[in-house]
């Protein structure tokens, strides 16, 4: 029972994170590209409940950050005025799902102060908003690349396992080539062949396509194994004897055996591909400024001074860890439940 609770908790967390990321425009208080040049590397705003005169407020509030004179990137709270945290505020314009314009944000505070839940980066951009919008890129990249990999793997695995002989041999040798390839260097090389500037959308789809196409080999091999064993089952042979076409056999008798593999692989590959996108962006091969992705947010930590001085810049890593743990827990659960069900 404890296991079930863990899995349910993981699934709820995943659902919650995905919803937040999908509705990033709503959950994020600010536009991810707007720079506040007066507040570079500002720490997260502290939430207070107790006011200056010691009485308790039901509604939490924040103080404005003020730069310390003669300090570099040092801030102190200005106790002049309390800015209450408000819900469902009107703010900058964004698009839901890419086409519905809206201006309501979940959280916010009164102008002119801004509430930095996760601090700001070197240009004064709100990190919390950037993590949410960055999640859209990174998680979407992971999901799409997984879909591509599994689709390719399924097709090749089925054909390879079902028809056997030279088709199988050549397909699997080809798969081994992909398994052996040092994919990071290949991707870095691909970037240098690209035209001078490609739009962020083009860069995104290119990234997804490359990550997805490189990773089809492992699912293909696993599916091939399942197809091979299913192909020689008695009921399949019997079905063939009754005149079933190859396509019917594949669709009705063999494919159902692959579902377990597909599900577990999906749950395993999504975090792997999210991390792949993060790695590429970290090395500068992903999207260009000012579009955020978890990778280029974490790339800020490549500078020693940022790594040591501004701890809130690690926040995207927390999001990455949560998503990965969630998916891996679910993958484990699927694996175990289907394992116990089959022979």
């Amino acid at each position: 029972m404890r296991k079930a609770r863990k899995v349910i908790f993981a699934m709820v967390l995943l659902a919650f994170l995905h919803l937040a990321i999908f509705f990033a425009g709503f959950v994020a208080p600010y536009d991810p590209a707007s720079q506040n040049r007066d507040f570079p590397f500002a720490p997260p705003s502290r939430i207070h409940f107790v006011g200056a005169r010691g009485h308790l407020h039901l509604r939490p509030f924040v103080y404005a950050w003020v730069a310390v004179p003669d300090g570099i990137n040092q801030y102190a709270e200005s106790r002049e005025r309390e800015y209450p945290v408000r819900f469902l505020v009107t703010g900058s314009r964004y698009l839901i799902a890419g086409f519905i314009p809206c201006r309501t944000h979940l959280l916010g505070t009164d102008e002119p102060t801004q509430m930095f839940i996760a601090g700001t980066d070197g240009y004064g951009r709100d990190q919390f908003s950037r993590i949410l919008y960055g999640g859209q890129i990174s998680v979407a990249a992971g999901l799409l690349a997984t879909a591509i990999s599994l689709a390719l793997g399924l097709v090749v695995g089925c054909i390879s396992g079902f028809y056997g002989k030279w088709i199988d041999a050549s397909a699997m040798r080809f798969a081994e080539l992909f398994l052996v390839l040092p994919w990071l260097y290949v991707l870095l090389a691909v970037r240098s062949f690209l035209p001078l500037h490609i739009s962020p959308t083009q860069a995104f789809f290119l990234l997804v396509a490359v990550i997805g196409t490189i990773g089809w080999a492992r699912p293909a091999r696993l599916i091939r194994g399942v197809v091979l064993s299913a192909r020689d089952r008695r009921y399949v042979i019997a079905s063939r004897g009754f005149g079933a076409s190859n396509f019917y056999l594949l669709r009705t008798h063999i494919l159902p055996h692959t579902y377990e593999i597909l599900l577990t692989q999906a749950a395993l590959l999504v975090p792997q591909y999210v991390i792949a996108e993060v790695t590429l962006s970290f090395f500068g091969v992903g999207l260009s400024e000012p579009v955020p992705s978890w990778g280029n947010l974490l790339a800020n930590l490549q500078q020693y001074s940022v790594l040591v001085s501004y701890w809130w810049m690690f926040a995207p890593a927390v999001a990455l860890v949560l998503i990965s743990l969630g998916y891996l827990t679910v993958a484990n659960a699927i694996h175990e439940s289907l394992q116990s069900g089959s022979i």
């Binding site: 570099i72 004064g124 240098s192 001078l196 260009s288 000012p290 020693y304 940022v306 001085s309």
Partner: protein, 590 residues
């Protein structure tokens, strides 16, 4: 038993030999040393310095990269040296010189009785030999271009054992400054390889120390590939302090190959190195806050280099770059460039990229170059409204979504390339991207590997705009000739011009040529001021900012006088010493 005793003795002697430092030679009669007016110090210690990449060679004629030149500069000496603190020339191996009235002949008198680091005597033969090598076209020395005045190479003639005559094809204002950092090499070691046409292969990193000799404060002791390069005191060095003690004070100098700037900072903080040079502003702040490690940081004010945004105005005929050629219609419009310059927030660049440690620039001469900067140049404040007005008067307009379009209705969209390894320039590009979006321009930032940037800017011209930096070598305008002459190799906005394509470029050509032969400073300044004004009026580069020179050293390192000119921290290495009793030298850490 006796055998064993003998072996033991040799072994111990060997060990002691390793640890014994080279003692300075006593002053000889007739040796014309130079007296240095620094604070008298104590002998001893090893100075440890980090380098971001390994040197490639120890050959002064072939070396082109920074780390090699840093090491070679400590082992060699020149005839006339530019004092990095005063920025004026002073005698070095030449004790005096006279210039003829027409400014074309230099008679240089060398110091008597000096010796190379291997004990061999120094004379005019070595000077003549060195210049022969520098001027030899087959050797391809990068310094050869510096020695071509008026289209002809300098002529060098030996007059007697200690006198050399240099003849120039035309008078040259800063003739003395040419000699700075031109290392005088030993004829007795290098003449044979030169005659055998093997000069370029001499003095590599694996050459034995006994085969390398120079007139500098240190000589090569050992090189461990991938780790360090160690120099030891030159016992015959020709400078003494006011107490007649032969310099340098330091026993040894070690260059550690530490890696990139962040790695250097970590090692400096840990105490592994004694000096750190040219750190970025953020690391400077980090190190300044650190009071536990006995280090002290120095902000020397703005450097002499200038960072700028350059638009591709090259002639692209026949290069299959039609998209870029179409955009040149915008870039070549002066009002477009002026609008871009007005919209850029230079103060934010100083604050966010340099943490306030820098100066905004509207011209190529840094405000710290007090001798040559034109004080009357205007510094227009940032104004997006004025930029809007300029663009409107140039025929641009805005769509309803705010996008800027030109007369033909084409959306104004271009990319800025910058070196990905230089975080500061990439940051500047991002800030400019945001600034220009207020004008409705759609700007892309494309970080590329440094070599790729150089390739596109210098060879293929396949770029639209780029952020680069030039300058910093010397305060004198002459090294800038390459940038401002239409035929110059770093005339970046329009390379390979057979003739100047615009009226103002022709004017700059004339003025720069004139100031080069003008002998009086006042006249040169007047001419160079005019050049600066023409540049400001025509914006071939959109000047952005210059960083401060930020260096640091251990508190117990005395006589540390960092300067704006390169090499910022090591130019007076012979005067440096460790004050005893305050933690002592970091010696014992070669």
């Amino acid at each position: 038993m006796r055998q064993l005793g003998r072996y033991l003795t040799f072994f111990l002697a060997g060990c002691l030999g390793c640890f014994a430092s080279v003692t300075p030679q006593t002053l000889q009669r007739g040796e014309e040393v130079q007296t240095s007016d620094n604070e008298v110090g104590h002998y001893g210690g090893t100075l440890v310095v980090g380098q971001r990449s390994e040197p490639k060679t120890l050959n002064p004629v072939v070396a082109a990269d920074g780390p090699s030149r840093e090491v070679i500069g400590r082992m060699m000496a020149d005839l006339i040296h530019i004092n990095r603190a005063s920025q004026q020339t002073e005698p070095a191996l030449a004790k005096s010189w006279t210039m003829s009235k027409d400014g074309r002949t230099f008679m240089v008198k060398l110091r008597h009785g000096l010796r190379f680091s291997d004990g061999q005597p120094f004379s005019a033969d070595d000077v003549v030999f060195s210049f022969q090598v520098y001027l030899d076209e087959k050797v391809h020395s990068p310094q050869r271009d510096l020695l071509i005045v008026g289209g002809k190479p300098i002529e060098v003639q030996k007059v007697d054992q200690y006198t050399v005559r240099f003849t120039l094809a035309q008078p040259y204002a800063a003739a003395e400054r040419i000699f700075d950092s031109l290392a005088i090499m030993p004829r007795h070691l290098l003449e044979q390889p030169y005659k055998d046409e093997k000069f370029a292969q001499s003095w590599t990193l694996t050459t034995l120390p006994a085969q390398i000799a120079g007139m500098g404060p240190f000589r090569l002791k050992e090189y461990v590939a991938g780790q360090k390069l160690v120099l030891e005191r030159n016992p015959y060095y020709w400078k003494v302090d006011s107490g007649k003690n032969r310099l340098p004070y330091l026993d040894e100098m070690a260059f550690l190959f530490t890696g990139n700037e962040d790695a250097q900072v970590i090692r400096f903080q840990a105490g592994d190195t004694d000096i750190i040079s040219r750190v970025g502003a953020e690391n400077y702040t980090l190190l300044s806050k650190d009071s536990t490690h006995g280090i002290e940081m120095f902000d020397l004010g703005p450097s002499l280099e200038y960072n700028f945004l350059v638009f591709n105005l090259n002639d692209l005929k026949g290069k299959n770059l039609d998209k870029i050629a179409a955009k040149q219609a915008w870039f070549s419009d002066l009002k477009f460039r002026q609008a871009v310059s007005l919209a850029i927030d230079r103060q934010s660049i100083i604050k966010l990229v340099y943490s306030g440690r820098g100066a905004a620039l509207w011209g190529n001469v840094s405000p710290s170059n007090k001798l040559w900067v034109d004080q009357t140049l205007p510094h227009p404040a940032r104004s997006v409204d004025q930029a809007h007005a300029l663009l409107q008067s140039a025929g641009f307009s805005w769509r309803s979504d705010g996008q800027l379009v030109d007369r033909q209705g084409q959306a104004v969209e271009f990319s800025i390339i910058a070196s990905s390894s230089n975080a500061q320039r990439s940051k500047m590009a991002t800030l400019i991207q945001d600034d220009l979006s207020k004008l409705g321009m759609n700007v892309h930032v494309v970080p590329l590997e440094f070599k790729a940037v150089l390739d596109r800017v210098f060879q293929t011209y396949d770029y639209e705009a780029s952020i680069m930096a030039l300058g910093g070598g010397d305060a004198d305008p002459n090294p800038e000739m390459n940038v401002w002459l239409s035929s110059g190799g770093t005339h970046l906005w329009h390379l390979s011009e057979a003739k100047p394509t615009t009226e103002w470029e022709a004017q700059i050509d004339q003025l720069m040529q004139k100031q080069m032969v003008e002998l009086k400073y006042k006249d040169r300044k007047r001419l160079y001021d005019q050049v600066q004004e023409i540049i400001a009026a025509n914006d071939p580069f959109i000047f952005l900012a210059t960083p401060d020179i930020l260096v640091g050293a251990k508190k117990n390192l005395a006589n540390f006088k960092p300067a704006i000119l390169d090499p910022n921290t090591l130019w007076n290495v012979e005067q440096l010493y460790f004050s005893p009793g305050s933690g002592g030298a970091s010696g014992g850490r070669p």
